[in-house]
């Protein structure tokens, strides 16, 4: 607690709150409350809007370098103004609604998708003092809001009155529903270990260091590492990122459920996808990487929101790296991976986490046994299931090519 008190008083840590109070301090009670809420929303929109803009630029640059080409480099210095040029292009493009489309649903789908994906940002703790909405069941809120985006994908696919759009929406839904299961199952051990369903409680459970240098982050336990891996693979699929970007596989389905969308509505879908990716990465940081906690006690003078941003950006660059490296899966491989591999592993991992928290009082040589059993519970099912998954599926023989 004394640690908290010393860093709590640091000026940089409180800077965002001081700035907010300076803006709204003169208002009376209820108006001040409303203004503070509005400031939170505007700040989240501005920060993640800009992050979205520059993430697209970074992605195009990195993909370009990986594929041995320069990437966008004509607009501004090193192409830095490219996102704004794209934004202006999107805003001024004609908005085409197909003649046979369902006009209301066609309009509502992008609105719903952006609203639901933006809601998820409300419960992520960005810093020691920066949690927009503190709720008792905020992890549940996060997944409830993100599961509602599936409905808008269906609305987009169906209302377009286009067979490719509908077909792709069904495929997208099959993928999202399949991967929601391992995603949720990988979060359950964290809730079990932290004893809290609120993001603030999970972050608080990861404070402190073992032997003065090893942080108590969940990723440094056997079950935490396994759950983190399952969570990241599932969030790749949930945010329609390569290698799971089948829903809008350009070569097979034109542009998936976005076929009949143009202009700013298309940009909104695109934005929602990146918002979803940022929110899932933020959740991964919160659940497994210690949230806003510093990795070492000596580094605590750096404000907590800086640590959160560093971890978030590291995960996001991981997403981009995976996209540059991995080929796309087939739909049957995709669902097989989810149901035959990730779901059983996640369920076994729940048992590992239960064993880990039951053996918490073990000390001395028993501590070694605890690690050995937990690691075996993670590694043995992984190897066995992995062997089974690829059994009888040798390298493909191309007879006519």
């Amino acid at each position: 607690m004394s640690l908290l008190a010393t860093t709590d008083s640091s000026l940089l840590e409180r800077a965002p709150l001081l700035l907010r109070d300076g803006l709204t301090g003169f208002l009376p009670g209820p108006a001040r409350w409303a203004a503070n809420g509005l400031i939170k929303i505007v700040a989240l929109l501005a920060v993640f809007g800009l992050l979205f803009a520059f993430l697209t630029l970074v992605e195009r640059k990195v993909l370009g370098r990986v594929q041995n080409r320069p990437g966008p480099n004509r607009t501004g210095w090193f192409g830095l103004l490219q996102p704004f040029a794209d934004g202006i292009k999107m805003l001024t493009k004609e908005d085409i609604v197909p003649h046979a489309a369902d006009p209301v649903l066609h309009f509502l789908a992008p609105v719903a998708v952006i609203a639901f994906s933006f809601l998820t940002f409300a419960v992520i703790p960005y810093g020691r003092l920066l949690l927009p909405v503190d709720m008792d069941a905020s992890i549940l809120f996060f997944f409830a809001a993100s599961s509602a985006t599936e409905l808008s994908i269906f609305m987009a696919g169906w209302s377009s009155h286009n067979k490719y759009a509908l077909f792709a929406a069904m495929r997208a839904l099959a993928q999202l529903i399949s991967y929601e299961l391992p995603l949720l199952l990988s979060v359950v051990p964290v809730v079990l270990a932290a004893g809290a369903l609120s993001t603030a409680g999970v972050v608080a459970a990861q404070s402190g260091w073992k032997w003065g240098f090893l942080p108590h982050w969940h990723v440094f336990t056997p079950w935490g590492a396994a759950a983190f891996a399952i969570f990241m693979v599932s969030s790749l699929a949930e945010s329609n990122r390569s290698p799971f970007d089948l829903p809008e596989a350009e070569s097979e389905l034109i542009a998936g459920h976005l076929t009949e969308y143009s202009g700013f509505k298309y940009a909104l879908f695109f934005m929602a996808e990146y918002f979803g990716m940022c929110a899932l990465s933020g959740m991964a940081v919160t659940l497994f990487l210690g949230g806003w906690h510093a990795p070492l006690p000596q580094l605590e003078f750096v404000p907590s929101y800086v640590w959160f941003s560093v971890k978030l950006l590291a995960l996001l660059s991981g997403f981009i790296w995976v996209r540059a490296t991995m080929p796309r899966l087939r739909i049957d491989q995709l669902t097989r991976l989810a149901w035959k591999f990730l779901v059983p592993l996640a369920i076994i991992n729940l048992g590992t986490a239960a064993f880990w928290s039951l053996s918490l009082p073990w000390a001395g040589p028993l501590q070694l046994l605890r690690w050995a059993v937990s690691l075996a519970l993670v590694i043995v099912p992984f190897l066995l299931l992995g062997r089974r998954l690829s059994a009888g599926l040798g390298a493909r023989v191309y007879r006519y090519a």
């Binding site: 649903l105 008792d136 809120f141 409830a144 409905l151 169906w158 839904l173 929601e180 009888g392």
Partner: protein
Amino acid sequence: MNAVLATIALATIGTAVVAMSRRNLLHSVLLLTVCWAGVAAFYLWAGAEFVAFAQILVYVGAISMAVLFAVLLTRHSRDDVAAPPASRSRALYAILAGAAVAGVLIAAVARAPLAAAPAPAPTVTVRQLGDQLMGAHAASLLAVAVLLTVALIGAVVLAAIGPPEKPGDPP
């Protein structure tokens, strides 16, 4: 506070009524989803956060999907989703069934002992809820779990019946 409740109730009942009057089956399903979200809003108004989010996760996220898939997979063409106008006798049966359900519900509400004075809202944390579910109500939780598992296995058995795989088929 009552204005908020009235708005939620109006939205919930209104979307349900409009959902019933739509010819297009998919519009009805989507409106019904809004109705379920309205029920979640009511739980939130009543201070039951956990139940509200669970309602959204299960009904808006999952059950609506099940209904939409069922509608799309059982219709042959997309113009088929518009239901034909019902006959007069069918309307009569519908009104009779609705009146019977409404009668049972109204009788139950009328007989329930409602406190005259507003009771202070209890604040239940998720931890207390979990303790209750795992302790006092563990048996009912297990019964529900067994029921859902049986339903899931039944669905898999129904879906898995197909032509046997030939050895030459691509994996």
